[in-house]
């Protein structure tokens, strides 16, 4: 009996997908009226060819599509069309690029959930810089997300120093488009779900092997809104002279926050091993550990031979 009910309750995935798609098509057919006062043909009488600049992108005019899903029309973005028909001067028509940033956001957010609205948690550097949507997006464009450049090269306009950082000895694979600015820098600054785990979500998506949460976290990977921190406390993400994009190699990096313990300094058991090796030779789990609150490698003895844990303990 129980198994029969379980069978009956099991959702039919295929049926669900068909229903969703069918509903989508029905709704798309139902909403063809775009309610504009000046139709596109009137605009194109003077602005011949402007429809072609929209044809390859998501803002393709609804008047050119069978069953359009969204009522895109010239007048939807260019307010003042009715007056412009009577008085065809530049002053009577609005374009996104020439609007004050706030007005542009209001206009675009009629269809798109604006980034500044999503970023309701504040401290977004771009939101207060009076950046217009059109500073990064070309409404009459064809690139993905209508960005001015597929690889977000428009960022260089203001952040050239980050580009030159990438000329260093090591860098993320920006060449070839494997990583772009937008791979890491999301304009929508969502509440980070990783704050509780003290590992930045941006880095986690490509470096899961280093990502927490761990039972024992390294406090250095805490991220802060006002003064950074997090992974970038030790790594220079845009470029570095060191392997693994480290700001400094070896001990020098650790010693910016930690003093070398006295027992490492004066204990001759290893022939002053602290002076020879990086801290991370023994403290391998610097991103966090499930075994040791001082991030020691639990397999230290196996790796190096000897009896490390006769004198040392994994936790202190």
């Amino acid at each position: 009996m129980g198994s029969m009910y379980r069978h009956m309750r099991k959702p039919n995935t295929l049926a669900l997908i068909i229903m969703v798609v069918a509903a989508s098509v029905c709704f798309s057919v139902a909403r063809s009226d775009n309610g504009v006062t000046v139709d596109d043909a009137t605009c194109l009488t003077c602005h011949d060819g402007m429809d072609k600049t929209l044809a390859n992108g998501p803002h393709r005019l609804a008047s050119e599509i069978e069953n359009p899903a969204v009522p895109v029309a010239c007048e939807k973005c260019h307010e003042g069309a009715a007056e412009h028909v009577d008085n065809p001067s530049r002053e009577t028509i609005k374009t996104v690029a020439e609007m004050p940033a706030h007005d542009a956001v209001q206009l675009c957010s009629q269809c798109h959930v604006a980034h500044v609205a999503l970023d309701n948690y504040g401290l977004d550097a771009h939101a207060v810089q009076e950046l217009n949507c059109a500073d990064c997006h070309r409404v009459h464009g064809t690139s993905p997300k209508l960005l001015l450049d597929d690889n977000a090269k428009f960022c260089e306009k203001c952040h050239q120093d980050k580009v030159t950082d990438g000329m260093g000895r090591t860098s993320h694979p920006i060449r070839g488009g494997f990583v772009t600015c937008l791979s890491c820098h999301r304009f929508v600054k969502r509440q980070s779900d990783d704050l509780a785990y003290q590992m930045q979500g941006t880095c986690r998506s490509c470096h899961p092997e280093q990502a927490g949460p761990f039972l024992y976290e390294h406090d250095a990977v805490n991220a802060y809104s006002v003064e950074n921190g997090g992974c970038t406390e030790c790594h220079a993400p845009h470029g570095s002279e060191n392997d693994r994009l480290l700001k400094q190699p070896g001990q020098m990096l650790c010693r910016q926050c930690h003093m070398v313990p006295a027992k490492h300094l004066y204990n001759q058991a290893h022939g002053n091993a602290w002076a020879r090796y990086d801290c991370t030779v023994c403290h391998t789990a610097v991103h966090g550990s499930f075994d040791s609150n001082i991030f020691l490698d639990p397999n230290l003895e196996a790796r190096w031979g000897g009896h490390c844990f006769n004198c040392h303990s994994l936790n202190q």
Binding site: V113, E130, C206, G229
Partner: protein, 523 residues
Amino acid sequence: MRHARYIAMAGMILGILFAVANAADSGGGKIRLGYVITDEDGNLSVNHETYNLYEGPSVSLEDFRYLMNNGMNLSADLKNISLNNRNLNASLFKPGLFGISLNNQQYRRIYNFDGDKFTRRRTTGGQAYVYPIRQVKIYGGYSQTDRFGQDEYIIPPFGEHLLTATDYSHKSFNVGGQATFTKGSLTAEYRRYDFTDDAMANSDREAQVVRVNAFAPVPFYKRLALSGGYQYREDKHDDPYVFLKNNTGWGGARWYLPHEYVFEGRFMAARTDETNRLVTVDNYVSTVSISRNWPKYGGLRVGYENRIADDIYNRTSSDGYLFDGWLRYFPKLLIRARLALRNKSVTDGETLVGDEDLTRHQISARYKLTDWGDVALSWQGKVKTNDEIDTRVDYNAVTAEVNLSREAYGRISLTYSYYQGSYDNRTEAIPNDYEFYDHVFTGSVYPVEYRKVQVWAGATYYRSKRDRDLEKIGGYVGARYTLPRDYQIEAKYKVYNFDNFLVTDEYYTGNIINVYLIKSFAI
């Protein structure tokens, strides 16, 4: 065999694209056929620009777009289909109705002199969304990242080689829905992660996340927008067995006050529990800021952040202050400045690091030349002091750039960056203070096309003195000639030279030549 499978997969994508294209309206793209020649000498692990290059024939389909009468749009950008550094992206969408996108890419990182010790990262994924009604979006996706190979780590200062195998797979799956209404939205999402490691024992783990987030203006008072959300996450690690549960809640407000003042505030509270070991970690973050804008002329903002981290051993508290602003009093000159301060103190218990003070400052000026481009100067610095061990790290970066562009001639860009820093141990118990600096010059020229010939060139000079003493020089030159019937011939030459003057086997010279035949087509 593995290569054949992926070439077949790319071929299949191409086949589907063309098959669909035959039945539809209009479109076009570019086919790029070519050959890559690599001539390298020296240590293959020191020059990151050439890690992921492969010699051989190259086939790409670029900027492919196909439009159907019903508004559906098919696009593809399939780079280097025939080589191991492929980067394939394809999508099918109808604006406002549905979208599907697929991607596959592969990147190699070399770790030793001969180049036979390397790891390869392969990412494959797909995303889809559908709008059953205009206000509701249902979305989901899958992504898999595999990294495998051998990773060689050289332990300074004596250069012992530590060789480790890497072979892990990270899969993530998500499904969610978003409802939007007047200036607000409600989003709910489920996400699952699986990490399996075949090279390192006891590293497998999995996680599940349920998340709800919403924001909306207050009814009848749209000057105030509120947001909030909740997330539950659980993580399971196999060995040692660890089961972490996390509950996080957050909220925020943005209040548009009269006279262009904006007040913002947010909070977040999170608790992570591990029941077997009785470990509980609490994190609390709260920020407030108030800003004043003078549209077109400038803005000022002052912010404060407080964070408390509390586990069963220690409790730390940090206070952060932010001051930033921009000024465009003269229309062509934009000045930006930012100062961020943070001090962290241990309020209970004793941590290895102790109290810290950090300061970050940044200032930049950009002057726009009428019709010709712009000139920019920026400076950023960071000071980190640790009172417990009495150290100070001081870091400064200065960047100057000139970008000139004229439609009749083309564009030219020059940049110079100087980085300088020092580490100062003021206890003098360990006399190990040091200084470091980097210089980076870059330049590029892109003149306008002349008699169907487009040429371009650029160069980089990098000099770094930190723990190493590096010099790196790179240059490139390219030319493209447009033939009749939408054919083009393109040739590119790049040269790299790298030297570490402190380590004898860290040198590299590379000559890379790319030759392509490009055919633009329309359907």
